[in-house]
């Protein structure tokens, strides 16, 4: 469509039976693995470091640096854990990737494990997506059959086993230490750090935890070189990434582009906002990142650019809302999600989300007073940065940012005696200008 896209991970999605090993290998798949097995593990870590690849799960921590934290003199086994618990509202990149191209993940797992000298790797997949679990399991089985996994891989002397683990359905298990707890068979609640997983992670052994997309990016770095990868993107946010657009755009979906692309470009690629409507607000990286408005259409979508306008790049889950959407209602829905998903370990998140929902519901119904907005902001202030993990920061973000940009709309609920919007108008099946 246009050369702003750089399809790498998504390039093969439209080929016939793209998820099978023959389809993957016919496009050069597992070539990077053979190349990597001929390299020194340290050289792979170095290449990933040089490429500037930063964690694609949202936090943006340099992947190569994370790998280099693994103490190689530790006598315990080392583990690679892939975080495939994609649960952030709006985020839909890892699941379609694993669905359409599971082998790029498997190949990335093998190369990454080899680099950190792990002989066991785990792929922790969100439990609800059974079809994806089956597809990744099948891909792993194919890889074993082809000799890409198991003992003495391709005569290199390197052994690796990959275990595909299904989560039990908790948002918190996307938090890396809660994921480790879940993987060990315990309740998914975050662990106290330090010790960090690089020192004492899974089974108290050195562990690297990376997002699916981060690991899946590794084969391309090995195959094409870190210079190739670093040539894309911006100064501090290098490479490509999958941007998932959802909501009120004509053609929602995954768009793989260099970091630093703008929403304006992406909306163009997605065929524009749905007919007859205008952008009202959007999330740059899922509901946990403070929402932005049409003022921010030209903000470069890289880690620094989005941070510069007070939000976070996150998972590049761009949820697009047009002017038919009530921001109070949207925020309430998100807050209900966080209340439901709070693990309960720490007080501010557990009790705070319980209370936030109640205050927001009343506001949405037009009950309360303007001082309730200050109460909400004060609650958010008491929650964000006070909790055990980042879940509660995410819970506060949509409330704080929506009040920042749409305070008048909150007050309109109070003066109107309820929501001034027609809830049906924001639905995708609504006819233009429906109802009163």
């Amino acid at each position: 469509m246009t050369d702003t896209l750089t399809p790498v991970l998504t390039d093969s999605w439209d080929t016939e039976r793209a998820w099978t090993l023959p389809a993957y290998e016919s496009r050069g798949g597992y070539g990077a693995l053979r190349k990597a097995l001929g390299m020194e593990p340290g050289a792979i870590v170095e290449a990933v470091k040089e490429s500037g690849l930063r964690g694609r799960g949202g936090a943006g921590f340099p992947t190569g640096m994370k790998w280099s934290f693994i103490p190689q003199d530790n006598p315990k086994p080392k583990y690679l854990v892939v975080n495939a618990d994609e649960s952030e509202p709006g985020t839909c990149k890892d699941i379609p990737l694993m669905m359409a191209n599971p082998h790029v993940l498997v190949e990335g797992v093998i190369i990454s494990s080899f680099a950190i000298r792990a002989n066991k790797a785990f792929i922790y997949i969100r439990g609800e997506v059974l079809h994806v679990i089956r597809r990744v399991q099948a891909a792993v089985a194919e890889a074993y059959a082809a000799g890409h996994l198991g003992q003495d891989i391709h005569g290199s002397g390197y052994d690796l086993d990959v275990i595909v683990h299904a989560g039990a359905g908790a948002y918190i298990c996307g938090e890396e230490t809660a994921l480790l707890e879940g993987l060990e068979g315990r309740r998914g609640q975050p662990r106290l750090r330090p010790p960090f997983p690089a020192v004492a992670g899974l089974y108290a052994s050195p562990t690297v935890i990376n997002n699916v997309e981060s690991i899946a990016s590794v084969p391309s770095i090995i195959e094409h070189g870190h210079e190739w990868f670093a040539s894309m993107g911006t100064e501090k946010s290098k490479g490509y990434g999958i941007f998932s657009l959802s909501g009120h755009v004509a053609n929602p979906g995954q768009f793989e582009a260099p970091l630093g692309i703008t929403l304006r470009e992406l909306i163009d690629l997605a065929g524009g906002i749905r007919d007859g409507h205008q952008l009202k607000f959007w999330t740059p990286g899922g509901s946990s990142t403070p929402l932005l408005t049409d003022e921010h259409l030209d903000v470069p979508l890289d880690f620094e650019g989005v941070a510069g306008v007070g939000s976070m790049l996150g998972t590049r889950a761009l949820q697009i809302f047009d002017e038919t959407t009530c921001v109070v209602r949207a925020t309430l829905r998100w807050t209900e999600f966080y209340k439901h998903e709070s693990c309960g370990k720490c007080t501010p998140c557990r009790e705070g989300t319980w209370w936030l929902v109640q205050v927001l519901s009343r506001l949405e119904q037009g009950v309360g007073s303007e001082s309730d907005l200050d109460l909400l902001l004060d609650q958010c202030d008491n929650i964000a940065g006070r909790s055990f993990c980042a879940l509660a920061d995410g819970a506060a973000a949509p409330i704080q940012s929506s009040i920042k940009f749409f305070r008048d709309e909150y007050i309109a609920h109070l003066t109107h005696g309820g929501c001034p919007f027609d809830p049906a108008a924001s639905t995708l099946f609504a006819t233009s200008g429906a109802l009163a």
Binding site: G344, T347, T353, W354, W355, N382
Partner: protein, 798 residues
Amino acid sequence: MTVSTGSTTEAATTDLVNLTIDGIAVSVPKDTLLIRAAEQVGVQIPRFCDHPLLAPVGACRQCLVDIPDAGNGRPFPKPQASCTLPVAEGMVVNTQATSPVADKAQQGIMEFLLINHPLDCPVCDKGGECPLQNQAMSNGRGESRFSATGGVKRTFPKPISISAQVLLDRERCVLCARCTRFSEEIAGDPFIALLERGALQQVGIYEKEPFESYFSGNTIQICPVGALTSAEYRFRSRPFDLVSSPSVAEHDACGSAIRVDHRRGKVMRRLSGNDPEVNEEWITDKDRFAFHYADAADRLTYPQVRDDDGSLRPASWPEAFAVAARGLAEAGASAVLTGGRVTAEDAFAYSKFARVALGTNDIDFRARPLSAEETSFLASEVVLRQGATYSDLESAATVVLAGLEPEDEAGAIFLRLRKATRASRTRVISIAPFESRGLQKLGGQLIATKPGREALALQDLLGHGDYGIDSSSVILVGERLATAPGALSAAVEVARKSGAKLAWVPRRAGDRGAVEAGCLPNLLPGGRPVADAAARVDAATTWGVSGLPETAGRDADQIVAAVNAGQVGGLVVGGVDPDDTADPAAFRAALDRASFVVALELRESDVTRVADVVFPVAPVSDKAGTFVTWEGRPRPFEAVLSVPSSLPDLRILAGIAEELGTSLGFRTVAEARAQMEEMGPWDGERAAPEPVQAHDVSDPGVTLATWKQMLDNGRMQDGDDNLRATARVAVARVSANVYDALGPSITVTGERGSVTVPAAIAEIADDVVWLPANSSGRGLLAEVGLPGSTVTLKGADE
């Protein structure tokens, strides 16, 4: 609360970190958590989940502080939980006392904690001593914004049972996880955990397995809100009406510090005291909940003498003293059985009474199977010695348990060993018939030993490089080892050859004190051997008498035999239950055969029912005294309640002695203590050891192994039904082969009778069966036979 850094206290003091808290410079040992460093400058940071003896968790977030300099010149951007953050050199910390940020953060957390809390302090047992209540006052806001904005609280049905004893009001819970962490980290008992998530998270149990813990009461004590209560104490009193007195637990030889809370002369509850050297902050459920025995309906409250018609009638104290003295004088040779519950002062009185007033060495504190080997062992190896201490257990590389099941028989030892094994400092090896749950919780190694082969197993320790017994090891021998011939001698030999520490662990609180006080046929007080003329002279001089009986006396079994043989006529019996003795039938026969029996008892018993004179004695709550721990550590305590009519054994013995024409020289505990101090320990030669050669005395048939479970049919648990309901049920532990052959219910028959109990599979030899000693009927000694004796098994349905 205890700040415990294990055995590294000496090293830690040399390794100090300097930081500034609220503008005050302070130096604390490396790795100290901020929350405790702040205590050093007098700032109490509010907290719920934090507990010094539990691993940090950082869950409640109440202890947030502001850190403008983390020690590296950079601030923490957000307030930090001071309960999880160790100090760093040059760190600058501002607590709620000086930082508006920290204060607001704490106020915010407190507000959240209270939104779903019922605020039912007026009807809550914790009200008045509640950390949530107190800290809500000190660090919270006066008005609730939650209820002002029409907030709806989460509610739960009240209360649910965690066990028969422990009840949970989920609404009050602040989910600090102290209880679940205690159970996991300290006691090692599973099946209490957090369930669900978000605001619906709650403490719960696994429905298919009972929460069986001997230490569950500690969770109630460390609960920072009123969520956990005991069925025992719930709604019984308010803390501000209670008077608290420190005391020492009387249920085992651990000497655990306790706090007794009483109101208008009645004990309402007992809590753990805090003694880092002994029980830290934990006690067993028996120490906590078993105290109603002293209020039982059959409690004796006045002296009685046997009337001409054979019935007991009330008597005045002077009359009872006179009748007792006359009866003993007329009975000829008399003997004294004190029981193991006596304080050291009372034991001293019994010891002196026997020697001075009755002129005999026929005295024994042991009301259980015993041996001459043990008598010699106590005199040569135990008395006056501090073989090992709790901290030795913690620092030892290896601890050997022989004839001792700490979880059942010495709870504080069990917890200390668990602490040591969890810290990977100590390895536990147990010479026992099977791997008990307690040993599993210690991660211990079993040396499977058939009863009777303990001596050989002990000797084998030296030969096995794997066991690594050396001078950094501790060998704990239980009192049960007396029934395994040669075992105590073997333990002495192993300790001597390896340099390992050796300690004797009895079951009862008064046992060790009675050894020290000379309630043995071969020992006078202070470790003076009866056989040593100089020691006798020394004791006689202090007592102001011309001489003491010279020949060693009879032990408890020999006394019983001598009474039945007509050689001894008079018996003075303290707290002895005939069914605890080696031969209950013989003991009962002796009571009948004796021409005169004086009983000193708390409650009506099989002894008082046949005694000629019955004296009521004071329970521990009513008298001062001293228990001596298994370590040899004196644990003095004062009377909790002031009950003038409640007399200690020593006052009664003094009264009888005076009627017999001699004076014990004391009538009060203070006077007895003074005389004990005057007498002091013996500094001469110890009694010579009389080792018994180790040999296999096990029987070729099926052998009975047994010990008493902590919670069983013991009389001192009477009246505490909720506690008793948490006892483990009586099961026969047999091998899988035996179970398969005989089925789910087994009849065990010994020379004295048989019992039928459910069977459970254990990793135990096919020719050994284990039964709890006193969890069914009158107990195994009365109904089956001696430990180590031969029994037959058959399926109950056959």
